[in-house]
C-alpha cells in the first residue's frame, strides 16, 4: 500500500506537498518576524534583591510575552562594568542607574531620555520632587525610580534617657552638649557615629552635613560655592573637625570607618547618635541583628546655626539604553519593562512595595505611604510620620555632574585631611572647590 501511495502523486498530494514546501521556505522569515515582534530585551542591574527582580521579570514576560535576559553584577564594580558594556556595544536595553552617574552617562550618549513616553511620565505626579529632579539632566528625564532613600538621624533612646534627656537634639550644637554629658557619665566614649571613610557613601554624609548647616557645595549654575565661609561647606566641616579633635565626641577612627562598619558599631551599642541611611532603621530595630533593637528612634536631622533639618536624598532608577531607543519597537518594549518596574504593574506600585517589604528599601512614590501594609511594616520599627516628614526635606545631591566621579575622591581626601589636622577646614574645602572649577572648565 505504501509503495502505491508514493508512486502516485495525485493533484491533492501535489498541492499539499507544495504548501508544506512553501511553508518550510517561509518559516525562517516568519520566525524572524515573530522574534522582531517579541524581541528579547536585556536588562542589567546590580546584585540586589535578585530573586525579587527575577520573579517580577517572569511576571512581566507572562503578562506581555516579551522575554528578558537578566544579568547582574556587584555594586562595587557596577559603574565600571556598565561603562565597559556601553563602550563595547554589548546588548543592553534597560538597566539600573544611580543618580550620581546620570550626567556622565547621558553626556556620553549611553542612556536615552524617556520623557517622550507618556505612559512613564504620568507617574511624576505621584513621585517625590527630589526623585524626579534626580532623574532629570539637562531638562530631560531618564527613567523611573527603582528605590530612593535619604540620610537619617537616629538615636538610642535608652542612652538618651540614661543621660537625663527627654528629647533628642534638634541642632548640631545641642548634639555636642548632650554628647559631652554622655561622655562624662561614661555612657559612651564617642556618642556620635560618623562614617567618613573614602567610599561611595562619603558624599552622602558630606552633603547631609552641609545641607543641614544651610550650605551648598555647588550652586544652581554648577559653580562651586562650597568655599563660601557663610553659605558653603566650611562650617559643616569645621563642626566635624571640632567633634573629632576638640570635643572628642566622634571617634578619630571615623576616617577609616565605612558606612557598614559604622552601622555595626552603632548596632553594637557603642554610640548614642548616628547618621545612616534611613532604610537601616529596620535592621537596627531587629533583635536578631542589633543589640539596641527597640531603642533606635529617628529624629529630624539636627540643624546648624544657619541651617535647617534638610538632608540629602538619593535615588536609583530604571533607565533605557541609547541603543534600545534607536529602534522604535524595542524602545516601546523597554518602556513597558521600565513601567512594570518603576511604575505600576497590575494597577499598583508592586515592585517598589515588594522591595520595601523584602529588604526595607525606600520608595519614591508618595501613595505607598498610605498603603496599609507599608504603614504596618514601618510602624513595626519606626515612626512613619517622622519618616515621611524627613523625606519631604530631602534634597538631591548638588554635585552630580559629568565630572562628579573625578572630583569625588579628591573631595573625600580633602575632608579627611582636615579631620586629621593636616589642613584647616577652609583650606580643605578650597582645594576641593578649585578642583571642581578646574574640572567644570575642562568639560
Amino acid at each position: 500500500m505504501l509503495k502505491d501511495k508514493t508512486r502516485h502523486l495525485g493533484r491533492r498530494d501535489f498541492l499539499r506537498y507544495s504548501a508544506a514546501g512553501a511553508g518550510a521556505l517561509m518559516a525562517p522569515g516568519l520566525v524572524r518576524q515573530a522574534r522582531a515582534e517579541t524581541a528579547t530585551l536585556t536588562m542589567h542591574t546590580w546584585s540586589a534583591a535578585v530573586d525579587t527582580v527575577q520573579s517580577h521579570l517572569s511576571a512581566f514576560t507572562k503578562e506581555t510575552g516579551i522575554p528578558v535576559n537578566y544579568g547582574n553584577s556587584p555594586w562595587a564594580q557596577y559603574r565600571e562594568g556598565m561603562v565597559a558594556k556601553f563602550v563595547g556595544g554589548a546588548p543592553l536595553d534597560a538597566m539600573w542607574v544611580s543618580d550620581a552617574w546620570l550626567p556622565e552617562w547621558a553626556e556620553a550618549g549611553w542612556i536615552a531620555p524617556v520623557d517622550e513616553f507618556d505612559s512613564l511620565m504620568k507617574y511624576n505626579a505621584e513621585a517625590e520632587d527630589f526623585c524626579t529632579q534626580s532623574m532629570t539632566y539637562d531638562g530631560r528625564q531618564y527613567g523611573l525610580t527603582y528605590y530612593t532613600d535619604y540620610m537619617a538621624f537616629l538615636y538610642d533612646e535608652a542612652k538618651l534617657k540614661e543621660a537625663g534627656f527627654d528629647a533628642p537634639p534638634t541642632s548640631w550644637d545641642e548634639l555636642v552638649e548632650q554628647s559631652l554629658v554622655m561622655k562624662e557619665k561614661g555612657i559612651s566614649d564617642y556618642p556620635m557615629m560618623l562614617a567618613m571613610a573614602q567610599e561611595s557613601w562619603l558624599i552622602e554624609f558630606i552633603s547631609t552635613l552641609v545641607y543641614s548647616h544651610g550650605g551648598r557645595l555647588v550652586d544652581d549654575s554648577g559653580s562651586a560655592v562650597m568655599q563660601d565661609e557663610k553659605e558653603g561647606a566650611v562650617e559643616a566641616l569645621q563642626w566635624v573637625v571640632d567633634a573629632v579633635n576638640k570635643h572628642k565626641i566622634v571617634s578619630p577612627a571615623c576616617v577609616e570607618t565605612g558606612e557598614l562598619a559604622g552601622l555595626k558599631s552603632f548596632a553594637a551599642g557603642n554610640h548614642a547618635f548616628a547618621m545612616v541611611a534611613k532604610y537601616r532603621l529596620r535592621m537596627l530595630n531587629d533583635p536578631a541583628q542589633s543589640q539596641i533593637a527597640g531603642n533606635v528612634k529617628q529624629a529630624m536631622m539636627p540643624q546648624g546655626p544657619n541651617g535647617s533639618h534638610a538632608t540629602v536624598g538619593w535615588m536609583r532608577f530604571h533607565g533605557m539604553s541609547a541603543q534600545a531607543a534607536q529602534d522604535k519597537a524595542r524602545a516601546e518594549s523597554t518602556a513597558k519593562l521600565i513601567e512594570w518596574f518603576g511604575g505600576k504593574s497590575d494597577g499598583a506600585y508592586t515592585f517598589q512595595k515588594l522591595l520595601f517589604l523584602d529588604i526595607g528599601a525606600g520608595f519614591g512614590v508618595k501613595p505607598l505611604f498610605e498603603d496599609q501594609e507599608v504603614r504596618a511594616a514601618y510602624d513595626s520599627y519606626g515612626d512613619v510620620d517622622m519618616i515621611q516628614a524627613q523625606q519631604a526635606l530631602a534634597l538631591k545631591k548638588d554635585t552630580v555632574t559629568p565630572w562628579f566621579g573625578e572630583w569625588n575622591d579628591t573631595n573625600g581626601s580633602a575632608w579627611q585631611s582636615a579631620i586629621l589636622g593636616n589642613v584647616d577646614a577652609a583650606g580643605a574645602v578650597k582645594k576641593s572647590a578649585d578642583l571642581w572649577n578646574e574640572l567644570k572648565d575642562s568639560y
Binding site: 556620553a108 571613610a197 576616617v255 557603642n270 566621579g405 575622591d409 579627611q416
Partner: protein, 281 residues
Amino acid sequence: MLFLAPVMVVLGAVAVFPILYSLYISFFSVKLTRPNRTPFVGLKNYTDLLGDAAFWSAVWRTVSFSLVSVSAIAVIALLVSLLLNQEFRGRRILSTILLVPWAIPYVANALMWKWIYDSSYGALNGLLYQLDFIDKYMVWLGDQDKTLFLIANAFVWKEVPLATILLLVSLKSIPADLYSAARVDGATVWQRFVHVTLPAMKPGFMLVMIYETMMAIRHFDLFFVLTEGGPGSASHVLSWHIYVETFRNLSFGSGAAMSYLLAIATFALSYLFIRTLGRKL
C-alpha cells in the same frame, strides 16, 4: 615554525597586542565617558604627570613603602632561612607552617589584616588591651602616621615565606667543605657567616631584592582593601593613583601613561640590582 604559529598567534593576541595598544592610547586623551572626543596629545599625558605634585607624592609614598617592606623582608627572611638551615627537632613542621601566609590569596590576606587592625573590634587592640599595653582601643589604619607602616607589615607577613625559600635554596647550595676549611683556618662563627655564608647567598639575595621590589612597587590589593588610599592621602601610592585615574576617572590615556612610567621605573630598578649585585657573582 609552523607548529609554533598557533602559540605565536595566541601570544600576539593576549600579550603583544594589548601592550602595544596601551602604549598607543597613552598618546591620546582617552576618557571612556567622552567616547567621541579622543584627540592625539603626543607626550602630553607623560609631561602632565611629571609636573603633577600629586603624582610625585604618590611616587614618594611608593618608594617609602617599598624601602621599608623590602628591607624588612630581606632581614626577616635571612634570619628565618638561617634558622631553618639548622638541624633541630620540629624543623619540618616549622617550615610547613611558614608557608601558610604565602598560600593565602592577597585579597584574603588583606581582609584578615583589616579585621586585625580594626579600631573597634580588631584582634590587635584586643591583644594589646588584654596585655595591658594600652588602656583604650587605638586607631590604627585611621592614623596617618602609622598607615603606611601597618600596610607594609601586612605585606611583609605575606612575602617573607617566599623570600625565605629563595634564600634557603642558596644556603643549601653552599658546600660543607667551605665551612670545614674556614674552621681549620680558625674562623669564628661570625667570620664564617660574613666570609662564607653571605657571599654564597648573593644570587638568592638578588632574586629576593628584584622580585620583592617589583612586588612592593606594584602592590595594590592591600591598599584597595585596607585604606582605599586614605586616610586623607596617607596611603595614596602609585598603584592606587593608577587605579583611580584609570578605573574611577576612566581616563585610560593618562592611566596608560602612568602605567608605562611605573613599568619603566620597575625595569630600571631591576636593571640596577642586576648590575650592582650581579656583577659580584
